[in-house]
């Protein structure tokens, strides 16, 4: 008689529990959490071998990355690594910096936005931007949101009203301001001002929203409201966020790109992957050192 496992015993030990013996298998963390595969997703924007120069200084070096559609992509990295430069290059905001130039391409809907015949105003309509500090214009809440649509030629009051209401709803600030649309936007709280600025960006119906540390000037509650808003917006928009707050990147983003400064002081892309992977088991030791707070 051969019995080699306690499961086969008729004797039941009263003290200990036998656990099951499942069959051998290996699962990586990322399989367990059904990590999204970047390569399989539709691409909304892409940087292709992108370098950005300020005069002779090369701020970004050969960045190639895909921004997946209807996802939140976070750009993280130490100060000076070029993440804001990269963000600004996605809607040609760097054009405004004297002496800046780029090499490589930024593709939006299959077309390089740096081609000569591209209308920059059109690009900035399709790729909106929200800044670190809320910056409402010194005008009424209504006019703040209607500013963009008016600029693009919409004059009909009823149409403008619809756009303003829809945008303020989408930015989760409608309930706060619906009874005071004629008040100055500057009279709102910091968090409300930032949501007003998001509404202003949404009013021109962009495809992509760039956010440059959108919550760093806000208190924790206002920060969480912005983060929830981003989550709600991503079904309609593609979002790219620069943040110094790694927990924020971990909370809100689907994908995270980690940038570093190389030996020439230029920003390079070290790793881009599903946020779950970056924060549980990154491929690069540099990423590991940064996200665990041991570098940067």
């Amino acid at each position: 008689m051969t019995v080699s496992k306690p499961q086969a015993l008729t004797l039941k030990p009263p003290i200990s529990n036998s656990s099951d013996s499942p069959t051998a298998m290996a699962v990586s963390i990322n399989e367990v959490t059904e990590q999204e595969n970047l390569a399989s997703l539709p691409v909304k924007m892409a940087a292709v071998d992108l370098s950005v120069y300020y005069g002779t200084f090369r701020a970004l070096k050969n960045i190639s990355m895909n921004i997946p559609e209807n996802k939140i992509t976070a750009l993280i990295g130490p100060s000076g690594c070029g993440k804001s430069t990269l963000l600004r290059s996605f809607n040609r905001m760097n054009d405004l910096v004297h002496g800046s130039r780029i090499e490589g391409k930024v593709i939006l809907n299959g077309r390089n936005i740096y081609e000569e015949d591209v209308d920059v105003v059109d690009i900035r309509q399709r790729v909106g931007m929200v800044f670190q500090r809320p910056n409402p214009f010194p005008m009424s809440i209504f006019d703040n949101v209607a500013y963009g649509p008016r600029l693009y030629g919409i004059r009909n009051k009823k149409v403008l009203e619809k756009i303003v209401e829809r945008s303020l709803h989408q930015a989760a600030v409608w309930e706060d301001v619906k009874d005071k649309l004629e008040q100055s936007g500057l009279e709102l709280s910091g968090g409300q001002q930032q949501r007003l600025c998001i509404a202003r960006a949404l009013a021109v119906d962009p495809a992509v929203i760039l956010m440059d540390e959108p919550a760093s000037a806000l208190d924790p509650i206002a920060t969480l409201r912005i983060e929830e808003l981003m989550e709600n917006l991503k079904s309609d928009y593609t979002i790219v966020i620069v943040t110094h707050n790694m927990q924020q990147a971990a909370r809100v983003s689907d994908f995270t790109a980690f940038l570093m400064i190389d030996e020439d002081r230029s920003g390079t892309l070290v790793e881009m992957a599903a946020t779950e992977q970056i924060f549980t088991n990154p491929a690069s030791q540099q990423t590991e050192d940064y996200v665990t707070g041991r570098f940067g």
Binding site: V3, P6, L11, P13, S16, N30, M246, F279
Partner: protein
């Protein structure tokens, strides 16, 4: 290294895990020694010592939870702290096995029953040695050692089978020994389970180092469905 506080706390926790491990090792060795000597007061002490093991486990768990809440560990730190929660649970259960053996001693008292002391001591030494090295591998994140140790579980299982067969033969030859043979099986089963749980610690070591969640079953092939057919 700007995270001196987190690093210091993690080192301290690793020390605490080793301390809990040595408490469990000592408890198991004491339980077996007490069994050999039928020392009832000592058995009672082993039984009661389990409470200290449980307290130590909860203290470590509490510290890990505080680190989760206050330090937001990420990546390797996160895997390490999550693994510590698993490992202390395994250690606490091993402590229960030692307590279980002490309970058997108290049940059989000084009754004159045949006990295969040599095999039981050998089994216990094996299981404790496996645990000791598994905890070293855990702290050192030694994946190679963590993969090697579970293979030794087969030797513990073989010893278990030897004692089992001897017991069954004894019961057939002399039905009066059924009750005592039953007690002995409780004891060896507990030691066998302790060695099984060492494998779980080794799995967590591999997890910390690689991020891979792995189930190691060195000798499970004989229970595979195809082989049963």
């Amino acid at each position: 290294m700007p995270r001196q506080t987190l690093d210091r706390e993690i080192h301290h926790l690793q020390d605490e895990v080793l301390l809990l491990g040595s408490m469990v090792e000592q408890s198991m060795l004491n339980a077996i020694d007490t069994f050999k000597r039928r020392d009832l007061p000592a058995a009672r002490r082993v039984y009661q010592y389990d409470e200290q093991i449980n307290d130590k486990r909860f203290a470590i768990e509490n510290k890990v939870l505080i680190l989760f809440a206050t330090q937001q560990p990420i990546a390797h730190d996160l895997r390490l702290l999550a693994a510590i929660l698993e490992v202390i649970t395994e250690l606490e259960r091993m402590g229960d096995y030692a307590k279980g053996i002490a309970k058997v001693i108290l049940l059989i008292g000084k009754d004159d029953i045949p006990i295969p002391y040599r095999e039981i001591c050998h089994m216990g030494d094996m299981a404790v040695s496996m645990l000791h090295r598994a905890l070293s591998a855990f702290i050192d994140e030694d994946v190679a050692m963590a993969r090697r140790i579970p293979k030794e579980d087969d030797i513990v299982d073989d010893l278990f089978n030897q004692i089992y067969r001897k017991n069954v033969a004894g019961m057939i030859a002399n039905p009066d020994t059924i009750e005592s043979a039953n007690y002995i099986m409780w004891v060896v089963h507990n030691i066998e389970r302790m060695a099984d749980r060492v494998t779980n610690i080794c799995e967590r070591t591999i997890f910390i180092a690689t991020g891979e969640l792995l189930e190691i079953n060195p000798s499970d092939s004989e229970w595979d469905e195809d082989e049963d057919d």
